[in-house]
Amino acid sequence: MPARSKRSAKSRPSATAARPAARPVTPNTKARKVYMVTGGVTKFAKAHPAMDFRLMVKRAYDYALKGIPNLTNDRIDGTRISYFSDHFSRQLKAASMVQDYLGMNPKGSVRIEWGGATGGECFQAAYEAVASGRMDVCLGAGYETMSRVATWKGNEFIALASDTNFDFPLGGFYTGYYALMVVRHIYEYLRKGKFAHVKDEREAQRLAIAEGCRIMSLVSVKNHRNALHNPYAQYPKRSTVQDVLNSEMISYPLTRDQICTMSDGAAVVIFCDEARAKEFTDKPVRIIGVGTGTDTMRLADRPFGKVPLMPKERASDYDELAYPGIHSFRAGRAAGLEAYKMAGITDPNTQLDFIELHDAYASSEIQTYEDLGLCRYGEGYDFAERGDPFLRGIDYGFPVPKAGAIPVNPSGGLIACGHPVGATGLMQGVFAFWQLQGTIAKHFGDPTLQIRDAQRGAIHSHAGTGSAVTVSILERGFR
């Protein structure tokens, strides 16, 4: 069957019509240096009935200002405010009410929305406001209140972010879409890889899926156990691989513990230029790279072309691969390439000390290792199993020989922290900021997750089935 599949891939006109996915980007050397000087997060929770979105953002904002006496409302030049869906609170133009509640009027503001990547886009919009010189100090704030509708209604709202002509009416369900993607990912890389020797096609596919699920469960355990040391996380848990596999089947092969939850929460970041950064903090963090990428809204339209290569990869690595198909996130690769180029990163595994990435599903964490070039396409499962993305010094209940090589989601990620969409990408920014400041112990009340001497980290925010992805790279801005 793989032979047939390969043949049909070659017969596709798209194979000849393929375009390189990543556009060449020349970093703008005229951009001003941008520093993050503080951030704040509310605890992410299933529901915060006692706080509406305005109060949640206010709490996160007040936390960010704490301890910086000369950073007050009048020093903020303007804001960028993000939330994903008007449906969740049935309040349109809600960002205006946040602006209003924070006392920011009449400063400039705009609402940012880009699906699941909303928070990451807000992070970059606030960056751009300062980099362009339009503002000296910009507040990026985001939130989501998803508890205001029942869980399955919430899933419906999220699924409305898929094509309502062709996709949604079939049973519009994002977990279903990601399941379709990972079944193909497993087919491409485990069926045709580790299980290539198995002659019976259906048996081979079953074995490959079982193996894929086992390895996805390692990722789920990692993120849940990391979160035991993060007081902001919604869903910390000392789980085991068996727990994850035994948790409720949502959309085969994805089980409940491999999927993030809906959440209420808010997060804010404050960016400024170099001169003001020194005024506000002796531990600023510089944003040295930003990248974005997109892909088709419908999975059905994804091309079967060539892989845009990372510095360490060669075209011959992927002779047999039709890319991205529905198995990989081309937008993630494009965003990573752009951000790496701007930041001068040629080897993310050695030049980055950690990554906070968008693990809405344990499967997408593994797919994203490959998109971001932490390993080649097809090596994501081995990469997880070897332990590279795990933290040293945490007991996961199984061996992780290479733990600490490049920790991924030390905070617990979306799977364990929760995913209040408009806040999520900013939450990653705040956790990355504290890592690079070396202040995790102060903010978490627990030093376990602090990566020693972290100099540089990346954050990665991702919209529905990889239709948009942002990657931002942060670097310690002090000695």
């Binding site: 069957m1 047939r4 599949s5 049909s8 017969s11 596709r12 006109p13 798209s14 194979a15 019509a17 375009r19 299933k46 529901a47 009935p49 006692a50 049935r90 508890s147 029942a150 399955w152 209604k153 899933n155 419906e156 699924a159 309502t164 002509n165 062709f166 996709d167 009416p169 079939l170 049973g171 519009g172 369900f173 977990t175 279903g176 399941a179 379709l180 993607m181 079944v183 193909r184 087919y187 069926r191 096609e201 259906r202 596919q205 409720e248 089947m249 949502i250 959309s251 085969y252 092969p253 088709t296 419908r298 999975l299 059905a300 339209d301 994804r302 091309p303 079967f304 529905i326």
Partner: protein
């Protein structure tokens, strides 16, 4: 005076009360009380299929339509039709798709959006067609999870009572 709504310390009890009376008070761990009400919302959209219309009209006639780029040097074939070519931007023309194909990927949904919960479990498949450069998302009926695999031959079935929805076509195993 209307009596104060009942107070609960569990959020799920609040939800149950809203279904009953429409109002409840939630008291959190810090003893903060929030008044919570039921707030219904429904709407009928005047939804136009616009440039995709011919596809849905064809489904009602028991036909599966794709589209093909008109530009001679491109001729990209879309299994999910697009009015304009994604590769070169030229307009496309309608073509008949085969009614048989193969499973490119699959899943069985045991949960779903609220609108589809009552239909669970259901299978979603991505179908690949000979000669087409893109795929089609569809339901697969008459087969259970353990029977599905990548490469499985499938054929289209059309709803004899079409509702002008993508659900007017589904697939079954082509045994």
């Amino acid at each position: 005076m209307r009596p104060r709504p009942p107070t609960f310390t569990k959020f799920r009890d609040v939800q149950a009360e809203l279904d009953k009376s429409g109002a409840a008070i939630f008291r959190d761990a810090d003893s903060v009380e929030s008044l919570i009400i039921r707030y219904p919302y429904s709407i009928n959209y005047i939804h136009s299929y616009a440039e995709d219309s011919a596809f849905f009209l064809a489904l009602a006639d028991g036909k599966l339509k794709g589209s093909r780029c008109r530009r001679p040097k491109c001729r990209f074939v879309y299994a999910t039709p697009r009015g304009h070519c994604m590769v070169c931007g030229a307009p496309t023309e309608w073509i008949d798709l085969p009614t048989t194909g193969r499973i490119h990927s699959w899943t069985t949904c045991h949960f779903g959006s609220e609108a589809f919960l009552k239909e669970t479990p259901y299978n979603l498949i991505m179908v690949e067609f000979e000669g087409a450069g893109s795929l089609l998302l569809a339901r697969l009926k008459d087969a259970v999870e353990s029977e599905l695999y990548v490469g499985m031959p499938v054929k289209a079935v059309f709803d004899p009572n079409p509702k002008y929805s993508i659900t007017d076509v589904w697939f079954v195993p082509d045994r």
